[in-house]
């Protein structure tokens, strides 16, 4: 365990560095050390790696670290520490009929350090040190959903970077529209930097409600929005551009100041749109330096410049596995990447279907 604690110590120091540098040597060293630790302590992962012919002594690069499919978190416990030391468990969202993935953690330090550094850099890049922002969060609070990593993330951000007026506005799956609209009005007149954050679907609800009431606000020029998550399992879907247009029309936050976050429960770090950090450059996802993203050809597993599967390597995943193979498609974009999803309303490939799709939609 000492090796892991040493890795965590270096990671925490890295997250505190003011300038971000990819620092390939440092990542390589830490990733291989963390892989060796996880190989030793996580038995299913060790057997998975051995099945593919990979062991720590045979690896030359972090790129070769076998990546675990994210779905595996639904089927087994992937922990690299004694299970009884679990302090916190985050679970993926799911319906009553589907299994939920679980990320068990014995420490929240790497997770919280990583999320804070990234949030500050990509969502609040203009926040002067010591200042705080008013965060209006369209998500359930961490006390309501203690196993939601997203709610926990927002709770940490509010705790560390939010003003006292910052709040959650989703309770028992309902948007507290009256309170939210009153607070938006107050925020529009206030002096503190404003960030409206939440799930994409909650934003859609807010837009619908504002449209129904015929209200709109002109939030300060410096306001920004952060949205995350898709529309899986939802009866209604809108494209990002449609949503951003509505956010601009209803909240006065231009699309160029709406940041999409790409993250997942199984991962300690998150990836954000570049728009606030590099407003004059094309939108793309940027990664913190203690992570790496590989876009691989799903047929060969080799790096591709075209569309491919997204593999993520995250040093903040100290307690589980650091290499994840996601079910998402992506494409490299200069120093970042794009996440490619199927367009809403796209036709099904055939009349047969993925069984979990309709199970999720069937009555329990």
């Amino acid at each position: 365990m000492n090796a892991r604690r040493e890795i965590e110590r270096e990671l925490l120091a890295w997250t505190r560095e003011p300038g971000w540098h990819a620092d390939e040597d440092r990542f390589q060293r830490l990733a291989l050390a963390l892989f060796a630790h996880q190989f030793e302590h996580c038995e299913p992962y060790r057997r998975f790696c051995q099945g593919r012919g990979y062991t720590p002594d045979r690896l030359d690069s972090w790129r070769e670290i076998p990546a675990v499919p994210t779905g595996a978190f639904k089927q087994m416990e992937l922990v690299s520490f004694p299970r009884e030391r679990t302090r916190h468990t985050f679970r993926t969202s799911g319906t009553s009929t589907s299994q939920r993935g679980a990320l068990h953690l014995d420490t929240l330090l790497p997770y919280e350090a990583s999320l804070l550094a990234s949030f500050r850099r990509f969502v609040l890049p203009d926040l002067v040190k010591g200042d705080r922002a008013r965060l209006l969060v369209l998500a359930p609070s961490a006390s309501e959903l203690p196993d939601s990593s997203l709610s926990h993330m927002f709770a940490v951000v509010i705790r560390e970077l939010g003003t006292p007026e910052s709040s959650f506005y989703l309770e028992r799956e309902r948007l507290d529209a009256d309170r939210l609209l009153a607070d938006l009005e107050a925020a529009a007149a206030g002096a503190a930097p404003v960030a409206v954050c939440g799930t994409a679907f909650a934003f859609v609800h807010l837009m619908d409600e504002m449209s129904r009431r015929g209200v709109s606000f002109a939030l300060p020029e410096s306001a920004r929005a952060m949205e995350t998550g898709g529309f899986k399992g939802r009866s209604r879907r809108v494209t990002n551009s449609e949503l951003y247009d509505q956010i601009e029309a209803r909240l006065g936050i231009p699309a160029a100041r709406v940041v999409n976050q790409y993250g997942m429960t199984e991962l300690g770090s998150q990836f954000y749109d570049s728009v606030l950090r590099h407003p004059d450059e094309p939108r793309r996802k940027l990664a913190p330096p203690w992570t790496r993203v590989r876009i691989v050809d799903p047929e060969t597993g080799k790096t591709t410049s075209g569309d491919g599967s997204i593999r993520l390597f995250d040093l903040a995943n100290t307690g589980s596995v650091l290499a994840l193979h996601t079910a998402d498609l992506g494409r490299v974009a200069s120093d970042g990447f794009h996440v490619i999803g199927r367009e809403p309303g796209a036709e099904a490939r055939g009349c047969s279907i993925a069984v979990d799709e309709f199970l999720a939609g069937s009555p329990a």
Binding site: E43, P44, Y45, R46, R47, F48, G51, R52, A67, V68, P69, T70, G71, A72, Q75, M76, D297, P298, E299, T300, G301, G306, D307, G308, S309, H325, A327, D328, L329, R342, G345, E347, A348, R349, G350, C351, S352, I353, A354, V355, D356, F358, L359, G361, S362
Partner: protein, 427 residues
């Protein structure tokens, strides 16, 4: 094309239908029977055109399209259409006004196509036409070939009936054109449950909607088909069912259940199926797939490997690329189906457990291929029908449904018509 143009084409079809209905119904059915005979002939111009154009447009391999069309269309005939009309309507004369029990078709029918298997497309178009209901078909983006070929085949066989069929194409996001299309008197919607529900919600009464949503098929092998020559034959048949249309049709099995108390049976079936799919790949190569599908396969394979690594009784048999995959599972519960020749072999203790395993599939179940249940076969067939299957057949036959197959467990023609009983004498 604008929505108004589309409305104009629908109006033209309405007029053409009025002209057609002056002819006896039996004539129309005879013409369409000839069209079906032509499609069932591998040397007809339509089949040759399909063989040439379909692989290019859809990415399926040429050999697989040839074989799939032969297996599918080869099972059909014009005589089967006549029999269908007799069975479901009591004869073509029921479509004419002189009949004592009239079958009244919709004045016009819009057919929204979504799949990429040619046979359902042909049938979706010809069935309303057989009732003399003109068809405005919107072809799906994944098959820009079949509907146009069907239109040509009808038009060249009988121009007057050909005038009752129009094929259009527009993006699904064009709601103005979609709403114009949905002004037809009856709408036949195919596609995902979500798509057909969205379409149905846009159709205004008193127009009727017939939804053909998600369906899937499975196979089950009993103790008499899990070894030796019987297993070889069953595996070869299942490999064909899986390979044709690259498993994208609703009649390709996504799972093979093994009901055999022998502990080794599931592994034997998985190995045999893997060998059969490898052979099939050599003869009927899988077509191109997009990165989304390829990624889904890679992901499911990796998840299965992880289950195996965790000590579960799971084995992955797979081609080097993503061409085919067989996963020997240790549970009978439904699991994701990434399609494109990806099949799971799952254990069930017996026929009762098989039915329990199929229960979650419910109304989505289409076909079940079974073999090796011996004297228990008749009882199993009945139980499968009660469980929701609309077709039970042998391995290797799933992709050759008869023209008269009641796909939804309902009639083939009857959902399209309204019956009126005429009590005589009338003055």
């Amino acid at each position: 094309m604008s929505a108004d143009t589309l409305r104009g084409r629908l109006a033209a079809l309405r007029e053409a239908g009025a002209v057609l209905r002056r002819r006896p119904a039996v004539e129309t059915i005879a013409v369409l029977a000839r069209v079906i005979d032509s499609w069932s002939n591998p040397d007809s111009p339509w089949r040759r055109a399909l063989n040439a154009q379909f692989p290019v447009a859809t990415g399926f391999s040429e050999a697989a399209v040839r074989e799939g069309a032969q297996v599918g269309f080869g099972a059909w005939s014009g005589a089967a259409l006549h029999q269908l009309v007799k069975r479901e309507l009591g004869g073509a004369e029921r479509l004419d006004s002189a009949a004592s029990r009239m079958a009244v078709p919709p004045e016009t029918t819009a057919v929204v196509l979504a799949g990429q298997v040619p046979m359902p497309t042909l049938l979706s178009i010809l069935l309303p036409l057989a009732l003399r209901s003109p068809v405005l078909a919107r072809q799906g983006s994944r098959d820009p070939v079949t509907a146009a070929l069907v239109a040509r085949s009808v038009s060249e066989t009988d121009p007057e009936i050909g005038a009752c069929l129009d094929v259009v194409s527009f993006p699904s996001s064009d709601t103005a054109q979609l709403d114009a299309l949905l002004e037809a008197d009856c709408v036949v919607a195919t596609g995902s449950d979500e798509t057909t529900a969205t379409l149905a919600a846009r159709v205004r009464p008193p127009r009727r909607v017939l939804r053909h949503g998600h369906r899937l098929s499975v196979a089950a092998l009993g103790p008499e088909a899990t070894g030796g020559g019987e297993l070889e034959r069953a595996a070869a048949g299942l490999a064909l069912d899986i390979s044709l249309w690259d498993q994208l049709g609703c009649l390709s099995p996504i799972a093979v259940y093994v009901a055999d108390p022998d502990d080794e049976a599931v592994d034997r079936v998985a190995r045999a199926l893997a060998e059969a799919l490898a052979s099939s790949e050599a003869r009927l190569p899988r077509g191109c797939i997009d990165p989304v599908a390829s990624a889904a396969i890679a992901h499911e394979r990796a998840e299965a490997e992880m289950r195996a690594a965790a000590g579960r009784d799971v084995t992955v048999h797979a081609s080097t690329g993503s061409a085919w995959t067989v996963v020997r599972e240790d549970v009978s519960t439904p699991l994701p189906a990434p399609l494109h020749r990806f099949v799971r072999v799952q254990p069930v203790a017996d026929e009762h457990a098989l039915l329990e395993a199929l229960r979650p599939l419910g109304s989505h179940l289409a076909g079940v291929a079974i073999q090796g249940f011996g004297t228990g076969t008749p009882g199993l067939i009945r139980a499968l029908a009660e469980a929701g299957a609309s077709r039970v057949c042998a391995p290797g036959k799933l992709q050759a449904p008869p023209l008269s197959w009641r796909r939804e467990g309902r009639g083939v023609l009857t959902p399209l018509v309204r019956f009126a009983d005429l009590e005589t004498p009338l003055r």
